[in-house]
Amino acid sequence: MSATAHRVTAPFGTRPVPVTSRQHHGPYVVLACADTAGPRPAAGQFYMLMGTRWGGGEDERPFLPRAFSVLRAPAGTSELQFLVEDVGPGTNRLSELAPGDELSLLGPLGLGYGGPREGRRALLVGGGVGIAPLAIWQDQLEGEVGVVLGFRDCNHAAGAALLGNARVATDDGSIGHHGLVTELLEDELDIDTHAEVYACGPPAMLEAVRLLCAVREIPAQLALESGMACGFGACFGCVVPTKSGYIRLCVDGPVLDARSVDTVVFAGGGH
């Protein structure tokens, strides 16, 4: 990652935090909690989350904690927000949590985004639940920021309200631009090439962003996903292939410089 990539170190050990609110945005749930014992995270960092009613779901899972980018960490508060899409037993349990419930949390973890280099305009590109780390990043960035977001449909596009001034694309055209978010990205880059791209989303989207930026020689920072057991470098399970071999995404990512990888589409990565 670039020299500017940011890591806030974490308190050692998981800590229980109270859930303070749960809000629905289309199919997504925004879960807020009060993390009085932890530091304010950097944008792009993530936490490992676990509910107190873990286990007993599909195939008797979940057992391990689950990784979530921090969606928002309002300065001057102890609040942490996460964006959860129910895709399996872990996210299912987390989506059910309500104010008063307890959440077990480890973090902040990983390397976050680095600031735009050489006075470039920040351009945030998100797909689906991948918009999460872009919200906190928009909160922290100064000056005008471009935001283009892609969703499956109008229902999912409800998530766009979590960022400011977002241009939206949907696969089915039910709202915003009918097509791919990378088409909106091309638009933005046509207007201003002096940009640094910050992307998070499904592998196919990230790969399109990577290619597009590679061709136009635009620096891009990609927040990837991979299956994780621990989140703090202990299990060696979360590796992704890079030009310098496998790296553990939890400690050497999740934000990677687009130029460090040959592709972001690989077995076991992403959703």
């Binding site: 890591r7 170190t9 974490a10 308190p11 050692f12 050990g13 998981t14 676990m50 286990g55 195939d59 008797e60 899972r61 979940p62 057992f63 391990l64 904690p65 077990s104 480890l106 973890l109 991979s226 299956g227 994780m228 057991a229 621990c230 703090f232 470098g233 202990a234 299990c235 060696f236 399970g237 979360c238 590796v239 992704v240 292939p241 071999g245 496998y246 553990r248 400690v251 690989f266 077995a267 076991g268 990565g269």
Partner: protein, 298 residues
Amino acid sequence: MSVEFCGIELAHPIINASGTFDAIAARRVFADQLDEQFPFAAFVSKTVTLAPRQGNPPPRLWELAGGMMNSIGLPNKGLHGYLAHDLPELAALPVPLIVNVMGFNRDEVAQLVRAFAEHEAVAALELNVSCPNVETGLVMGADPREVVRLLDAIRPLTDKPLIVKLTPNASDVPAVARAAEQAGASALSLINTIRGMALHPRTGAPWLGGHSGGVSGPAVRAVALAQVSAVCDAVQIPVIGMGGVATGRHAHELMAVGASLVAVGTESFRNPAAGERIAAELELQSPNTRIPVRGNLG
């Protein structure tokens, strides 16, 4: 609860299981708090091989009922990378260092043992014998004769304690344990992971990049307890029990059947400070429960 194990002083009986805690990465994540609150009484490194290994292709993880399966594939910097980069950092940990090594034949193991024999920072060596000997095709740790041949070759190379880590995937684990004891092992540790497999939910192809993997966590705890119990009944040397330990009671149970130390693996993934909690819980275990009676603290 301080204990002595093979001549090594330990603050308590809880250590980490090899390959389930990377103290160097954890220092980057938790900064000084890691050393200040180091959760284990000794640190066991992930397996070191002679040559560097990048490990298996992802996916490397699978979650299952009460546990997980991994096919990490022993990624490591190789002996020289470890000596140059990792050993100095690990030597600075607040606890004794145990280095876990594996070779694909006896000569490789011998080279590894010889290399670590001279390093003061290394308190003991753990031999991972859960791999096939590429010369004989036999899993070294599943066959008593293979284990004897291995120890005959390497026992003379060092005075450091040699811990043989047994595989659970064997018909007669106590027989392997007895063979290791007779051939000069200082201690035994078990269980390593149990061989398993999972298929991709959509494609039906093997999920793990390494095709099959090793099961760990609470799902294997009853199997671990049975094997640790049988091995402790079969040998006099100290035994490090592990497999699915998540609470002080679980640790206590392994000690009740004869283990001298207990290693925590998968539970650290759920909480890096689990070792600390387990050690504290262990200390509170009711004396009603049968306590170790074997004078086997080495």
